[in-house]
Symmetry: C2
Subunit: 157 residues, 2 copies
């Protein structure tokens, strides 16, 4: 099994391009303090996401990104580097979403994606079902978020 470290947009056109066992790594995306605070104020206004002074007194010891912000940043990396541009049919859901370490301003995130399963639908043979294990890594290669995702992809033939 080859384990490429990136997947070119031209090589991700349809379900058939995704094979169980393959591992991809790609990124990176920087986490900016203004973005952490902005996302926090809009969607998750808890002091450890929005107020650096208050956050420094909290048990995290400083500002951390909302878990939903980290998820959204990971989604951006998936769309830019992994999912098929014209064959993505959305996701029924996600399992085992975890935030084992905080994401802090200044961190740089990248993704490691392992394809766990890829099978053609029997009821709708124009599409396939994929399960992936997605790990979000910081610049120290520590896992800051992980999840198991499901995706539906259009087949080429």
């Amino acid at each position: 099994m080859s384990n490429p470290t990136s997947i070119d947009a031209l090589a991700r056109q349809s379900f058939e391009d995704y094979v169980a066992g393959a591992v991809y790594e790609f990124g990176a995306i920087a986490v900016d303090e203004d973005d952490v605070i902005g996302f926090g104020n809009q969607f998750d206004p808890q002091p450890f996401h929005t107020d650096p002074a208050a956050a420094s007194q909290w048990h995290f010891g400083g500002l951390i990104a909302s878990g939903w912000h980290t998820g959204a940043l990971a989604m951006r990396l998936l769309v830019d580097h992994f999912l098929p541009v014209t064959a993505s049919l959305g996701s029924p859901g996600v399992d085992e979403l975890r935030w084992p370490r905080p994401v802090r301003p200044g961190d740089v995130l990248s993704l490691r994606v392992t394809i766990l399963e890829a099978r053609r639908s029997t009821s709708k043979p124009d599409r396939g079902f994929m399960r992936t294990h997605i790990e979000v890594l910081n610049q120290h290669r520590e896992v800051v978020m992980s999840l198991k995702a499901m995706n539906l992809l259009r087949c080429a033939s």
Copy 2:
């Protein structure tokens, strides 16, 4: 077991205010087309989240919100109406996150939260662990997102 339909901020100060079996309903938050497109462009630039014309040709039949956007909107409702303002210690993770129906511009979302489990930590007795079943409902009271969340909360005594 009482099943209040809202939980006042003054009544949610610490872990002890959360009891297994209680059900809360609250909201609402409106989903705006500009916000759907803005979130999509920033975090999930797939055509069914960002391009109304392309989305109308897609199998969803129109623009839909990114699942991470729906999650972020649900988080806002949790912070505003359910989690304890000064006793929230973050979340280790989420299980069984599902998006059974699309969220469309113009939808109005509310939350139904059932407390599945609330137990004091034995290793760290100043905090408690809570598991909830969270359902995001649209204005037709259809479930558009559901998840099982874990939260750590500070105890009052």
